[in-house]
Symmetry: C2
Subunit: 231 residues, 2 copies
DNA sequence: TGTACATCAGTGAACGCGCGTTCACTGATGTAC
DNA sequence: TGTACATCAGTGAACGCGCGTTCACTGATGTAC
């Protein structure tokens, strides 16, 4: 039987701390995240936070991991929306659309994991890597499926050294050259979607009157035209 | 005759303050920029800075403007490297290459103007706009020249409302639809180069083993293939 | 040339503030006898 | 059922720190007479 909640113990305080932290980040960015401000928002004392996070950096790490998990969920959900083998194009497009939608829904989460690094904070890679790899894996998998369906154009891409890839691919037994190809296309696609999305969420395109949604749809089409063999 | 320098007056202190500020930013980012740290680095007292900048934000604004000026110089210099009318393709490529090279040489300047906004700092647009417009103008001009040379593909781009463009184009008498086309292509090109460059300077591509230089050259080629009519 | 004065880029002390973190504590709860 | 005790999520006070900014000041310089 689960231990009943004590009256001095605030229920879900750990989650509340993270919620308040996101709230602070939304207001003034991750670098001015303050444990005392969080405590004030929750009407608790600042040292109480130390029952849940050993220090400020650990809280930031928890936020980073949560952001990757949320982003990864959104990516895999979108991908699984078209599970049939012959729906690989739809899968690709849905995953791409979800990328931007998640970023727009959670712009500060997006910037925390994909934007300018938080100064003074060095993320502990061994803690973050699984969530990071899983989140980027959806796109890589879709591209691998395009390749296996014979729909990926194989032409003049710069091939990267996938040895340092760190396990993006679940199927690590794949032959090396194919892995490199899929991997390189994934980086190209990522850089393009990130280009538009990062400019959009930091507010640098709208002042120029850009319709970001149309721009993004154009880029997805351009990516398909460039990398995918039409049916 | 110029007033001679007094011995209590430190020569070029205003420039030294900005240099020290860039040094601090390189070490720990713009949000932890501290007037007292700058003063310590220069062996002066902190209030001395107030003889040159009314407050901390004014210093940041000066840095932002300097970054845009330096970036703009690099862009226009690259563009002017191939001044002949029939060298418009070389001009485009040179400007694109210079974009990345400037960003790699001055990654913190790049991130200050194109990265995640500094939390709590709202740049005064009326001060920054001229330097910003001039810096982005080089790319826009090259694309306008491509258009005037009949080398720009006119097909299915999403056209933006260039009315809010704010004077990117020096030749404002240009017909509206052409302006929109040039403008839209500029945004597409910008988002692509920014995509790679921002991931590269924040260190998010190299851990995946990407050869950023090859990736970037591929993207410039892809841009030419997509938007420019071969000679 | 000498003297009185204005200028103004610098100084050190101080203000009030917020921060992360530590520490000994308290007091409600659960548990063993 | 009653009592003594262990647990542990919370507390308030305090530590040492750095920050932006203000203020009255100083002292070298340039200048007017």
């Amino acid at each position: 039987m689960a231990r009943p909640v004590k009256s001095t113990q605030i229920p879900n305080l750990k989650e509340s701390i993270k919620d308040a932290a996101w709230h602070q980040i939304t207001l003034s960015g991750p670098s001015s995240l303050s444990l005392r401000k969080i405590a004030r928002e929750l009407h608790i004392s600042a040292p109480a936070i130390y029952n849940y996070f050993p220090d400020r950096d650990a809280l930031v790490t928890a936020l980073v991991i949560d952001a990757y998990l949320s982003f990864g969920d959104s990516q895999h959900t979108a991908k699984n929306h078209f599970p049939e083998e012959d729906q690989v194009l739809e899968r690709f497009r849905e995953t791409g659309i979800a990328y931007r939608e998640w970023a727009i829904r959670y712009p500060h989460r997006y910037l925390l994991i994909f934007g300018t690094p938080v100064p003074g904070y060095i993320p502990p890679m061994h803690e973050i890597l699984p969530a990071m790899v899983r989140s980027m894996g959806a796109l890589a998998e879709v591209i691998a499926e395009l390749y296996r369906a014979g729909r990926l154009k194989v032409q003049g891409f710069p091939l990267f050294d996938a040895g340092t890839c760190g396990g993006i691919f679940q199927d690590a037994a794949e032959p090396k050259q194919e892995e490199q190809l899929v991997y390189s296309v994934a980086m190209l696609v990522w850089s393009r979607v990130h280009g538009i999305v990062s400019l959009e969420v930091t507010g640098k395109l709208p002042p120029f009157g850009a319709d970001c949604s149309a721009l993004y749809r154009y880029e997805l089409d351009a990516i398909l035209r460039e990398f995918v063999i039409a049916a």
